[in-house]
Symmetry: C2
Subunit: 192 residues, 2 copies
Amino acid sequence: MTSRAESAAATRRALLDAAAELLDEGGLDAVTLREVGARAGVSRGAPYRHFADKESLLIAIGTQAWEQLGDRTQALRADPGLSSGEKLRGGLNALIAIGRTQPHLYKLMFSHPPGDPAALARAAQRSQSEFLAIVAGLVGEQAARRYTALLISSANGIAGMQVSSQLADEKWGGITTEELVDTLVAMIEAQS
Amino acid sequence: MTSRAESAAATRRALLDAAAELLDEGGLDAVTLREVGARAGVSRGAPYRHFADKESLLIAIGTQAWEQLGDRTQALRADPGLSSGEKLRGGLNALIAIGRTQPHLYKLMFSHPPGDPAALARAAQRSQSEFLAIVAGLVGEQAARRYTALLISSANGIAGMQVSSQLADEKWGGITTEELVDTLVAMIEAQS
DNA sequence: TCAGTCAGGTGACAACGTCAACTGAAAGCC
DNA sequence: GGCTTTCAGTTGACGTTGTCACCTGACTGA
């Protein structure tokens, strides 16, 4: 009925899902290969048939998240009913939303693993190129590099501050991530 | 000769130094209580006389780094020979420099531990208040909150991008963190 | 049909964080 | 000074984890 390749792919997916679920529920420490295997319905050693080690499994989860964000940003960019500013705000808020709803996953997306620092960066590249294209429509090809780098860095930082609950501090007067994104985008729009 | 309190304080410091050294050398995974104890010249159980658990030790290291940064920013703010923009650039670049020279320590400073998320945030508060005071001198008390929150978030993000080597990507055209900070500060100065 | 491939299971090992029990020297008290 | 208390430090032990070597059994291709 099910070929070997099919069942292997299903197991791999089950492992990824189980690991992502554990990450969401209890953070990085909760992701143990034993528990991942158990939730996927296999033994503790089974993950080694699909991932070189635990780190590779985590990288795969982060890569998956970057790809989904890339899809979303691409859809925003292609939407003819949105202004450049709206596309920008939409994309940045989508990124930051991950930080709010899935903080552990978010940290994974921006933490370079010791083994292969380039792996996650490659996965992030497409999302970032989408942003670059949007900004280029605002301030031109030349300046877009600098502003996009600043934009993504800032969005990353805003989300990071939120993840570590530092934006909730009273000295900021209850500022929201959306307000920060609006301020940022407005400043960039003013450059055009 | 040496009182008990003195030798205990010396051991505590030796433990902190050893842990910070291991963190620098091999990242978070390299920091094991056994190795920390060994480098500090004590046994593997000794750290538990000074820190509740491994996490508390790591928090202490992060707190220490925030305090040093606070000292530095305070000195910058008090320097009458610097303009507000220069103070700002100096402080932000100091923060980012930690990301460049001690990436593992930097990640520790911005990662909230599961146990007490507020502990590190409290330590970061003073540094952030210093920035708030500087920005208030630029754009006024009212707008300072928003711009400082954005500023620190962005600096955090810039450093984070650098730590994960994502700024080195060719699509940014070899942009440096200093350029990003300059762009950011210039945009904020334009608001006054 | 049959040898080969490969997903999966199991036993084992070293390393780790952590705790309980112990030791010995400094500190406080009479 | 002698006694008791305190407490930094050590050691043995335990459960958990990542990882490997080895085994098994079902699917695959010829």
